[in-house]
């Protein structure tokens, strides 16, 4: 397995170097997308299947497509540049030296094994019984890092609001090169499967790898598939239903935390016996909000509609 790790590390570094040094922007983006695949494999090797799932949903379903779409919207030749090599001039040489020193120091630091590292994790693991869910990462996210999850949802919404204020949607898709029914058929075949696995991941987050974010990202990927196959598109106007769903995750989370203060005496503590239903409610509303925010971040528009609808 060490051989596998070494090869993985080598390919990661190779692709990162390619991503930075490629002359054409498209080649840099393609290198970044393949790097995402290898990163997913690294998460697997590091015993973090949660992150592998997140990488699969985000890297393959959203980020790569968004990068390609933005690249397409830029004028010809935009972003093609030649990065100076380390020995071409004083500035690149100095920066290279600095970055190399940083990398070497970090490598050394990562090989140190200080005593009593990661006490927070031990403490969290000890308390796991108090939580309503069995899967460590989701339990940590929902219980001990409840504020963190709430604020993460806030960051997502802030990014969305910022994006909407810029009013720069992805351009409408051009026609496909060949007149073909295949993409539409593909969407009809795959959509139920993607929705199913998305909802399953949210549900399964309680006892196996998965959770609101992974599930939400998969649902957003389903939306991207519908847009790319021409069933839907971004809309310049928004509706109150969409807004309600966007705010829903954070609202339900906060309200559940606030309303139960008289019962439990603490913010974001849930009464015994009701923990699981409340968690499920929170997880699903969070997943919906996350899915819609990611999808709108992709289109760059405040609303969504069917293709051709006014």
């Amino acid at each position: 397995m060490t051989a596998l790790d070494s090869l993985l590390a080598l390919l990661l570094l190779l692709l990162a170097a390619r991503c930075v040094s490629a002359r054409s922007l498209l080649q840099a983006i393609v290198a970044f997308i393949v790097l995402g695949l290898l990163l997913a494999l690294s998460w697997v090797r590091l015993e973090a299947p949660d992150l592998a799932l997140a990488e699969a949903a985000i890297g393959a379903g959203l980020l790569g497509v968004l990068l390609l779409g933005t690249w397409r919207s830029l004028p010809l030749g935009h972003g093609n540049e030649r990065i100076p090599l380390p020995w071409q001039g004083l500035r690149p040489a100095l920066i290279t030296t600095g970055c190399t020193v940083l990398a070497v120091l970090l490598t050394v630091a990562l090989h140190q094994h200080p005593e009593q590292a990661a006490m927070s994790g031990l403490a969290a693991l000890d308390q796991l019984d108090a939580a309503g869910v069995d899967q460590p990462v989701t339990a940590v996210l929902l219980n001990f890092r409840a504020y963190d999850t709430l604020l993460e949802m806030g960051v997502l919404l802030m990014a969305l609001i910022g994006t909407l204020m810029l009013d720069s949607p992805l351009p409408r898709d051009t026609e496909l090169p060949a007149r073909t029914m295949l993409p539409a058929t593909l969407a009809q075949l795959f959509l139920p499967l993607i929705l199913l696995i998305g909802l399953y991941l949210v549900w399964a987050g309680a006892y196996s790898p998965g959770g609101a974010f992974q599930g939400g990202a998969v649902l957003a990927g389903a939306g991207v598939l519908l847009i790319l196959t021409g069933f839907g598109e971004g809309d310049g106007r928004d509706g109150w239903v969409l807004r309600a769903l966007l705010a829903g995750g954070a609202l339900v989370f906060t309200l559940a935390g606030l309303l139960l203060i008289p019962v439990t005496g603490a913010f974001m503590a849930y009464p015994q016996g009701l923990v699981t239903p409340i968690m499920v409610l929170i997880e699903f509303s969070l997943a919906l909000s996350i899915a819609l925010s990611l999808l709108l971040l992709y289109t760059g528009t405040p609303g969504l509609r069917r293709r051709g609808e006014r």
């Binding site: 799932l53 393959a60 898709d173 051009t174 790898p209």
Partner: protein, 89 residues
């Protein structure tokens, strides 16, 4: 013996993925690059299946399923653009 075969197969697949990257880098056309990305995607899926059994982690099969479900998205996003020659773009 099974573990040895699984490890060897996983290493071979990663090596092949690395070799396929030559096509990603060398091109020559955009279609070649995106084709090579598709191949690395399928290889990654194969690796995930292998590792799912090797590490006894069934969740990796879900990750593999996600990768194949979204595999066509990149190709779709790539071909949906105005042709570079001719036209007003």
């Amino acid at each position: 013996m099974t573990l040895l075969v699984l490890d060897a197969a996983a290493f071979m697949l990663l090596l092949l993925l690395g070799l396929g990257l030559i096509r990603v880098i060398a091109g020559p056309a955009g279609a070649d690059r995106i084709l090579a990305v598709q191949l690395s995607g399928t290889t990654t899926v194969g690796l995930l299946l292998l590792l799912a059994v090797r590490l006894e982690e069934p969740a990796l099969i879900h990750a593999a399923l996600l990768f194949v479900l979204f595999a066509a998205l990149l190709a779709l996003a790539f071909v949906r653009r105005a042709p570079p020659r001719g036209g007003d773009r």
